[in-house]
């Protein structure tokens, strides 16, 4: 990782550490972009990519270490300050106002001149944008409302917004995530051209193909540290994948539960017996491209089916389909032999329990008591209902039982969900999901934001449900979690489809390749 001689980097991070409370997001990270260079930043969710980019663009300040601009130490006071000093940022989620025209959106990011609000340098800004667009060969409908334009064009407007006369470094956060396959090569042309003009480009991605095709230098982050830095010409997808997800032994140390390892005898085959959950050709249409594209799988009772993948590859849509919250555009969803209507109530009555990704908005009604929150799972059950009345005394007793059974730390059944810690809130969600012995459990990122003890608890609860015969779909962006919990198979979601279904004992670099969109190409790997 020696500094490459010659030119002074446009921007460089030197020994940067950034902590959030007790959590260290980045540790002693070095990073530099030189004029004309396209530098890719690769890593899993939570590896520290966003933190590094926020430090470089002035949104965060480092806990330790320094940032150098053209070789001189600098402290950005704000993103606007960084922008004035030549650092531009193109966000994954566009910061555009849809009803306003292209020109108006370009002016939005502009500071007024000396005369205050009356002196926006309208002509200068627009002329600059026009000449830039001409140079790049773009045809932009300047007066059309931005909301009416294709996503690729909207991204070009974001680029025009970020690109000022002074801009020397442009940071792109997952720029291809929203593009159609035909728009991606066009973006790459643009990036090469911008680099050719002497700018430095930071390209954040998790797609191995793209990173290899486009960039000159590649930095891989894992758990806040730089684990690899290499020239694209000197590496391949497999070693990048391994660097990204870590060597095999890291995972195996996490799998301590003997029962789980033993139950993996079936390997990459479906366990015998009828499936509790049956999904065929599930598809959800999206704006630019399908969000889910022909997913098929079946999960048997007593199986934990793991679904890995980098966030934003269709996890949310798949979870919503399995919860009955959205109706798939096409495909079949069966619970045993039932085919419930696309409503959360019908799915719950068919035996599906969901541990949603966002416990504070989807999982719990924070201002309500534990009894009321737990009643959300059974309010329509005849056991707790007489005509229009809910049997609150019975519901309260049930809550007290569940508080004991699931070890929920609260002052009592009447405690408000808001007053609980995150781990105990998740226990409430899990208690509600598992209390009625569901046939199918859909768990989405069930340990996100929890501490170590709570994580162990959640994992034990899921294994307990599996042992008592539930079919469990575990959708998680934490690869470690998926690999340690999945009993027979791990599927990898990539752009709305499975790039592969493998055994949880597969080599991790292979799974890394699948997460990066490389469908299996190594012969024989499937047989393992």
């Amino acid at each position: 990782m020696a500094e490459q001689g010659g030119t002074i980097p446009l921007i460089a991070a030197r020994g940067i550490t950034r902590r959030f409370g007790a959590f260290t997001a980045l540790e002693r990270v070095d990073f530099a972009v030189r004029p004309g260079e396209i530098h890719a930043l690769l890593g899993e969710n939570g590896a520290g990519k966003s933190t590094l980019m926020n430090l470089l663009s002035g949104l965060l300040r480092p806990s330790e270490g320094e940032i150098l601009l053209n070789g001189d130490p600098v402290r950005f006071r704000s993103p606007a300050d960084a922008e004035r000093q030549g650092i531009g940022m193109v966000h994954q989620h566009f910061l555009l106002v849809p009803p306003l025209s292209v020109s108006e959106n370009l002016l939005l990011g502009t500071a007024p001149g000396m005369g205050g609000l009356l002196s926006y340098p309208i002509r200068r800004v627009l002329d600059e944008a026009r000449s830039l667009a001409d140079r790049l060969g773009w045809r932009i409908p300047w007066n059309a409302p931005v909301g009416s334009l294709p996503v690729g064009t909207q991204q070009r407007i974001e680029i025009l917004k970020a690109l000022r006369g002074v801009t020397r470094v442009l940071i792109f956060d997952e720029p291809t995530a929203v593009l159609t396959p035909t728009e991606t090569p066009e973006l790459f042309d643009t990036l090469r051209r911008l680099a050719g003009e002497g700018r430095g480009i930071v390209f954040i991605s998790h797609k191995l193909d793209e990173v290899l095709a486009l960039s000159e230098t590649i930095t891989v982050l894992r758990r806040g540290r730089v684990v690899a830095r290499t020239r694209a010409a000197e590496t391949d997808a497999r070693s990048l994948a391994e660097a990204m997800v870590g060597p095999d032994r890291e995972a195996s140390s996490l799998i301590q539960d003997g029962a789980v390892s033993a139950s993996r005898a079936g390997q990459a085959t479906v366990p015998a017996g009828g499936a509790a959950l049956f999904v065929e050709n599930l598809a959800v249409a999206g704006q630019a491209r399908p969000l889910l594209n022909g997913l098929s799988f079946a999960v048997s009772p007593g199986e934990i089916f793991g679904i890995a993948g980098v966030d934003g590859n269709g996890q949310g849509e798949l979870a919503d389909c399995l919860a009955g919250l959205i109706r798939p555009s096409s495909g079949t969803l069966r619970i045993g032999n039932d085919q419930p209507a696309a409503s959360p109530g019908a799915f719950r009555r068919a035996g599906v329990a969901v541990i949603p990704a966002d416990r504070q908005t989807r999982g719990l009604a924070l201002p309500l008591s534990l009894t009321e929150n737990l009643a959300l799972g059974v309010y329509d059950s005849p056991v707790y209902r007489r005509g229009p009345l809910l049997l609150w005394p019975a519901l309260r007793r049930r809550t007290e039982d569940l508080i004991r059974q699931y070890d929920i730390r609260a002052t009592g059944a009447g405690a408000l969900a808001r007053s609980l810690s995150g781990g105990n809130q998740q226990k409430v969600v899990i208690a509600r999901a598992l209390a009625e012995n569901p046939r199918v459990v859909v768990a989405v990122n069930p340990t996100r934001g929890l501490d170590v003890g709570a994580i162990a608890y959640v994992h034990a609860a899921l294994r307990g449900a599996q042992a008592s015969g539930a079919a469990i779909v575990l959708i998680s962006t934490e690869l470690e979690e998926v690999l340690s919990l999945a009993t027979h198979r791990v599927a990898v979601l990539y752009e709305g489809a499975f790039s592969g279904i493998v055994s949880p004992d597969s080599p991790r670099d292979e799974i890394g390749l699948l997460m990066g969109g490389k469908t299996r190409e190594v012969p024989g790997a499937a047989a393992r």
Binding site: A323, G324, L325, S343, P344, G345, A346, F347, R348, R349, V354, P356, D358, T361, R362, G363, L364, A365, L366, P367, L368, E372, N373, A375, L376, G377, Y379, D380, R385, P388, L389, L390, W392, S419, S421
Partner: protein
């Protein structure tokens, strides 16, 4: 719970004394004596059997519209159209009340039903707009108030105007359609009891029934309610209907219990005061009773203030109500802040 109330008492007293001091200053500024004003206020609200009955008469419409507002707010719906719903309720009730040849036994129930239905219909418009068109109910319910006001103005000069066509008002409603009076020499009518009964009914509904639970769940966490299979749209729509029905019923009770006829400028702003009533009660249907009584007393008392104290501008009464509400909001804010600080200390 009781402990907390006791602990919050000093805070409550402090905010309200500050409010009272501000009021005294304002009354001084307009050249009246704060002592004389407070005495008149007290006499008008509680000083005699008659003034007590007047307080109760003023309480009834505030109680029902306050319940209507509270129910909507509990579901997370900011229905601020109680005024309009009250007015259309009064119009529909008048339309039924002046009918001839209605069997006497069913005339009053029919009148009340018409008022509630009209109120429900009126807020149902806002409900449909919200559910199917995403129109903010704050906007639609407020604008519907103005539509209702214009409609009233037209009604009392058109379809509902008295037979002699003299004044912008309706004929008196038929005698069987009126509430019985409860105490001779006063205006106290049986509709007050009906309003109290409604408060108990709404409390029971919210606390014990599955429908009430759905309403509260949607209001406390729409995402969680939806994920649990509660039909959010249907609940929202039903809440709008219930909320509007209560305010419409308030209008009907006012027609059949107090005025017996409809006139231009029918409401002195009950539907707006209702928002204050609901907020002061912290949206609890049982607490709406004392809260409405408080504002009812304020209204009855300030009527006497205006009769007795010469030269006091009528806006002072409105200022009085505003200061009371502000004092309460300041109290609620301070209490919340303290609570949050304590919770933060524990975590």
């Amino acid at each position: 719970m009781k402990q907390r109330l006791l602990r919050d008492l000093p805070l409550l007293l402090l905010t309200f004394s500050l409010g009272a001091a501000a009021l005294a200053l304002i009354i001084r500024l307009v050249g009246a004596s704060p002592v004389a004003v407070s005495k008149a206020l007290w006499d008008g609200a509680f000083g005699s059997r008659y003034s007590l009955s007047e307080t109760l008469v003023q309480t009834a419409p505030l109680l029902l519209t306050g319940l209507g507002v509270a129910v909507a707010f509990r579901c997370g719906l900011f229905n601020i159209g109680a005024e309009g719903q009250f007015l259309v309720g009064a119009m529909a009730a008048t339309g039924v009340g002046i009918l001839k040849n209605v069997p006497a036994v069913i005339h009053l129930p029919l009148l009340l039903l018409a008022g509630a239905a009209a109120g429900a219909l009126w807020s149902g418009i806002a409900g449909l707009l919200k559910v199917y068109r995403g129109v903010q109910e704050v906007l639609s319910t407020l604008l519907l108030n103005f539509v209702a006001l214009q409609m009233l103005s037209w009604m009392v000069r058109g379809p509902l105007q008295e037979a002699q066509k003299g004044f912008p008002q309706s004929d008196l409603i038929a005698v069987p359609a009126r509430f019985v009076l409860l105490a001779p020499g006063t205006r106290l009518h049986a509709g007050v009891l009906l309003a109290l009964f409604c408060a108990a009914l709404i409390w029971f509904f919210l606390r014990w029934t599955a429908g009430g639970f759905a309403l509260r769940a949607v209001g406390s966490g729409e995402g969680a309610a939806e994920a649990a299979g509660i039909p959010v749209r249907r609940t929202v729509l039903a809440t709008f209907l219930l909320s509007g029905a209560l305010s419409g019923l308030a209008g009907a009770i006012q027609i059949s219990g107090v005025t017996y006829l409809l006139s231009d400028g029918y409401s002195p702003g009950y539907g707006y005061t209702a928002i204050a009533v609901a907020l002061l009660a912290n949206l609890s249907p049982l607490a709406v009773v004392p809260s409405a009584l408080f504002f009812g007393a304020l209204t009855a008392g300030s009527n006497v203030v205006q009769q007795r104290i010469v030269g006091i501008p009528s806006v002072v009464v409105q200022v009085l109500q505003a200061v009371v509400l502000l004092a309460f909001l300041a109290y609620a804010w301070a209490r919340e802040r303290r609570q949050r600080r304590e919770e933060g200390g524990v975590a």
